[in-house]
Symmetry: none
């Protein structure tokens, strides 16, 4: 039996000490890295759709089994490679003004999505459609990270009295992130900072006429 797939979730979200089995040859860090490296390489050069387990194995100089031993599926593999790589540096601006914070947050997001990040994110989401188990992981790792970051920004806004005290932050998060994902997926309009600012401001002020 395989040693419990290191469902990237564990590795990423918690400090839990990846319990190495006492006996047997230990996992090769070289291979591990070679695989993740190959994934990023292929992701970059040929895109998410062209990435196959077989191709990764070939490119990494690794047996296929070695991949199947540690990752349940292609998207989990990509997720780890991608999450490890772009690990991170989610901006959590705190300038004292929720509008400025949000604009900063979404301008950054849009910028990143116009790099390699965009296609990969789309690919991961697409794969999650077919694979519920992976959706769970994607949600718990990648999506949750972004939601949490945003949520903190919003919470600070509420604390400062810059957002209504009774605002449903979950729905607000869905609205803001949803709009970005929607443009990312449908690709009917640009994801630029103009859009980011408009989105933030409209969302804060609403579309109904003010001050009636």
């Amino acid at each position: 039996m395989p040693p419990t797939h290191n469902s990237s979730k564990d590795e990423l979200d918690s400090a839990e000490a990846e319990v190495r089995p006492v006996r047997g040859r230990p996992r090769s860090e070289d291979s591990h890295e070679a695989v993740l490296g190959a994934v990023l390489d292929i992701l970059d050069k040929e895109g998410y759709g062209a990435l196959t387990i077989e191709g990764v194995a070939r490119h990494a100089g690794v047996g296929k089994q070695t991949i199947y031993r540690w990752w349940k599926s292609k998207p989990e593999l990509v997720l780890e490679a991608y999450a490890n790589h772009s690990a991170s540096k989610l901006p959590m601006p705190d300038k004292g003004d929720v509008t400025a914070d949000l604009e900063s947050f979404f301008c950054g997001a849009c910028k990143r999505l116009n790099d390699i990040s965009g296609p990969t994110m789309r690919g991961l989401m697409a794969d999650a459609v077919y694979d519920p188990e992976f959706l769970e992981i994607l949600r718990d790792v990648l999506i949750a990270k972004r939601r949490d970051a945003l949520m903190q920004v919003l919470a600070r806004g509420v604390a400062r009295g810059q957002l209504r005290a009774d605002a449903d932050l979950v729905v607000m998060t869905d609205t803001l992130l949803g709009a970005v994902w929607y443009r990312l997926l449908v690709q009917h309009a640009k994801l630029d900072s103009r859009f980011a600012k408009q989105l933030v401001n409209d969302c804060l002020n609403g579309y109904a006429p003010r001050g009636r």
Copy 2:
């Protein structure tokens, strides 16, 4: 060369006269319907991911070539089957009140997405990720239909003075539809009428405190 794929777009959006070749055996309506029927059957029973051209041909008792002759790809095939089927009945409520109209619009949408519609929509979107050509079609057929319907509702709101005259309706549309798609794809929360109403109201009123 095949006789111009009847890219469902044409068939659905315009009245353009499907140029029938002058001579030769005409297209078999039986086969046409058998194929679309098989697609819906499989979509329903086994899901979008398990749908293959080979399987459709088998299930419909039709040669593979017959499918490739008339449809460029799996997702286009599905799109026609699906669009023909759920053809339509997009609600375009007009009650004189933009809030009521929007609530009605999104409650209906959420309800439909909780039936068979949801998985198929997700599947179509997933395929669009891998196939840009199909994305174009999906966008122009299915997505645009919904956007246009919503846009009309919003335009009436503006006309009635219930929405700010300077509102960017495109961004507003992205925001509203994006939130729904986001929940549909990520599946972290229910798509129910509570959500629909909250979404509409928050979007109209904004999250910033009013009447400062």
Copy 3:
């Protein structure tokens, strides 16, 4: 380098003193026996073709390396297990009559081949086809044993004047044993005592008309 494979040959044919290394943990008799036991088990339950080193190790609760350390290949392993087990008891009848001796010899052989012995013998021979090194061992251990036994019977026949003095005993051996192997492998006819007797008598008397 491994400690000289105890090519079963050595173990079986000679008394040569299995040179034990002076230091370090001694060979585990438990493991040794567990392996041989597993081999016989699998041989019996799943047949020769389904026997793999990996399977033996699993079944015996033993590391693969432990097998590779002591046996060069699957067939050598099987040979030791099998030879140890059916060790021996080759009948070497000596009733004073070569015909009777031979009939006894071959009736016994046929009987044994109709038990478990048959499939294993066929499997060993099959493996020997692919592995010349193993063929050598099979020939020197199992085959030679039988040839030698038969040869002695024949030699006694010559001594008694019951076989022609100028008979080529090697060819005779090939003829008798070959017929049995041939039926065992081709399986076009039964290996029963009727066959054994017919074989012996025809071989002794020849097929040409006598006493012209």
Copy 4:
């Protein structure tokens, strides 16, 4: 369902008109020949053990499925290639003397077995050990052909009074062919014409002293 594997048996043994299904693309003779050619090539250059379906497909420039479509297994594939190739030219000498006929028959057989024929025959027999279904085919195609040829020679000997009228020709066949197979498989002695002649003569005259 595959179109009934052309179990080489049918093709070779009888005149039955390989009923081509009326519909669908017909079998490609080019591919068929390319595959058989590749088999013989590999058989010749790398030997029976190194022959894999994958390798044949690669070498023949053919999809794996095309092989699996028409042949059930590696040995059946080899059998057709080999039988088609060495199809054939089994000597059926008829010189009026059974001794001469048999010597001619077995000298020829030994000679052929010392060419490529030998290893392939051994390989086929080995595979038959693991695959009963194939054993049946091997027996009915290759083995039976040789048995029948020999049997005719023997029958003529009986007719001419050169063999005992009551001789059990089946056992005699087993004896003669068995001795050859035995040497072929065990490889403890040469398969040369000296052996062939000795075998034939001893078999005819018997090992018991004559003219008592």
